[in-house]
Symmetry: C2
Subunit: 343 residues, 2 copies
């Protein structure tokens, strides 16, 4: 079985020869070949230069026996075409110069045409597809509405999301209008990537775990459903909400062929809550890769045992791989997944 079939079959809950595996943020700083390029270019330069983005996308596929590539990009790329000033300040992460805080701010936002306005990404996708030549599938991705909204309202990363939640609680009309705008943006952005040729898409809801269950239901779920309904059904969709074990049933209700799990749950129990009619992805703690090889193998085996060789499990970390991860430990995780899950 080809690695591409292995991955796509798992997304569709069909039989596989062994469990497919990839790592969130696998095109990243833990790789010396990535750091070499990053030393010469800013993060945004790398995103906006198709050859560079394509190169770092393919790097982990060259080094490891992983079963998918994920296009190198940032969830905040659609901000500029919307009319929002974005900068990646040194050591600070993203900084947004004109955060959205009012109905007037929301009304100024523009719809986007990702195929032309983010054409650099579509070009990168095409270069990668040519280089991969069907060996492994390519994943495209986008941030989910809450995660994008909270970045844009807060003006960057946040600890408490107080401006975002204050808008929800005190100005619900503004909130919903903003989420509706983002819904259109995300659908356009994802579909442009699908048109460019990605074979899988992942929706990242990185910060939605900050919400209680009622808030997710009222302020997020309807928009999340609309986003997922609007994305073309020609490729499988992975829906990953980080820190959201307490919201798992609703995340699954929002949609997706595969539900991503972080490490804050036992995979077997979480899969029951997701519903066994969906595939799941995850869920080793990325920091497990700082342990010994024996420890990594033990934790990998535990997850595989909980999946029990059922159709529809993609192995992954529960969040992005960390910069200090030893290279050989990432290899151990990938190889152990394949070896211990042979059907």
């Amino acid at each position: 079985m080809s690695r591409a079939d292995r991955f796509l079959n798992a997304c569709r809950r069909k039989p596989v020869d062994c469990t497919p595996v990839w790592m969130m943020r696998q095109a990243g700083r833990y790789l010396p070949e990535y750091r070499e390029i990053r030393a010469k270019h800013t993060f945004l330069e790398m995103c906006k230069t198709p050859e560079l983005a394509a190169e770092v996308t393919v790097q982990p596929v060259r080094r490891y026996e992983i079963d998918a590539a994920i296009i190198f990009a940032d969830i905040l790329l659609p901000l500029e075409p919307m009319g929002i000033g974005l900068e990646f300040a040194k050591g600070e992460g993203p900084v947004i110069h004109n955060p959205v805080r009012s109905m007037a701010d929301v009304e100024k936002l523009k719809p986007i045409d990702a195929a032309t306005q983010i054409s650099y990404l579509m070009q990168a996708i095409k270069i990668v597809l040519k280089e991969l030549n069907g060996k492994v599938p390519l994943i495209g991705f986008s941030g989910a509405p809450f995660t994008l909204a909270s970045y844009i309202i807060e003006g960057g990363g946040s600890r408490n999301y107080e401006h975002a939640k204050a808008m929800m609680f005190a100005e619900p009309k503004t909130w919903h209008k903003f989420m509706e705008h983002l819904t259109g943006v995300i659908i356009n952005y994802m579909n442009a990537q699908i048109d460019a040729g990605v074979q899988v898409v992942q929706l990242f809801d990185s910060w939605v775990g900050a919400l209680g269950p009622q808030d997710y239901r009222e302020f997020v779920l309807p928009h999340q459903k609309n986003v997922i309904a609007g994305i073309k059904k020609t490729v499988p969709l992975i829906h990953f909400a980080h820190g959201a074990t307490h919201l798992l049933e609703m995340v699954s209700e929002a949609g997706g062929d595969v539900i991503g799990l972080d490490w804050r749950c036992n995979l077997d129990e979480a899969w029951k809550r997701v519903g066994e009619d969906k595939a799941v992805q995850g869920n080793i703690d990325p920091i497990s890769l700082f342990g010994s090889k024996e420890f990594i193998r033990k934790r990998t085996k535990d997850i595989l045992d909980r999946a029990g060789n059922r159709n529809g499990h993609i192995m992954n970390l529960g969040h992005g791989i960390l910069q200090q991860t030893p290279l050989e430990n990432a290899a151990e995780f990938i190889n152990a997944t394949h070896e211990l899950s042979k059907r």
Copy 2:
């Protein structure tokens, strides 16, 4: 019924006239009378000057109809007597100059005698008790082992807790030895506060939500049980783990008369998971207090409805009150709790 009886009865799951309420971090920056004192003193000066610590402890009791006071202190106060250099850098939070990273570091740590080495806190407790004169009970508190360990290992706040988890995963003997040391420190610190006269204690496990269920069971639960077993049973103990909805059954198993809930759960469902033989505390999102008065009242009522006037509910925020909270909105929350829960 006195406010003191109302609060202590709720801790013991006995009848009350209405639901008692307090707010985590209620002695804090949202109060102008607090900021006035803070403008003239560093945070550590305030902790270490009994008259100042006592004054800010009593401030919210003067302003609001709250049913308990909590002593003004910091969970990191026991670090200095352990031999760890602690500083509160401007705008950065706590900075620890000699983080613990190895067995040799752990072996250098000293046990503490809080009654003499943190006598300033015990003096503050005595001043507060005199001023409160039994009107409302005084809560003492400590950080839980994981939360203290992660601060000390990381050297301050952290996003991923990678050094702490790396110690767990790669050097479990060092981890357990460190947790055993902290267990002794916390028991001594809590019991000194009880001897000084606090009528309730709360154990804060602020960061333990970063762990998956297996890690909590293996690396935290045994120590947490030992801490709780070692604290004098003469006063009720509130056990609060933030961001830990996914660990609720184990948090309850670790012990405590009252289990604190953050806002990431519905109180009725969470209470079932905790076990109805325990009291619960919580759980409005602190940022709800940025909404309108109607919104605050609606959310307060929802929680009271889920508690259903059962014995053993203490109303609280799901985390500390935020600095920008409007004063009158905190009042609305407190008064709504009392009005809507009259028996």
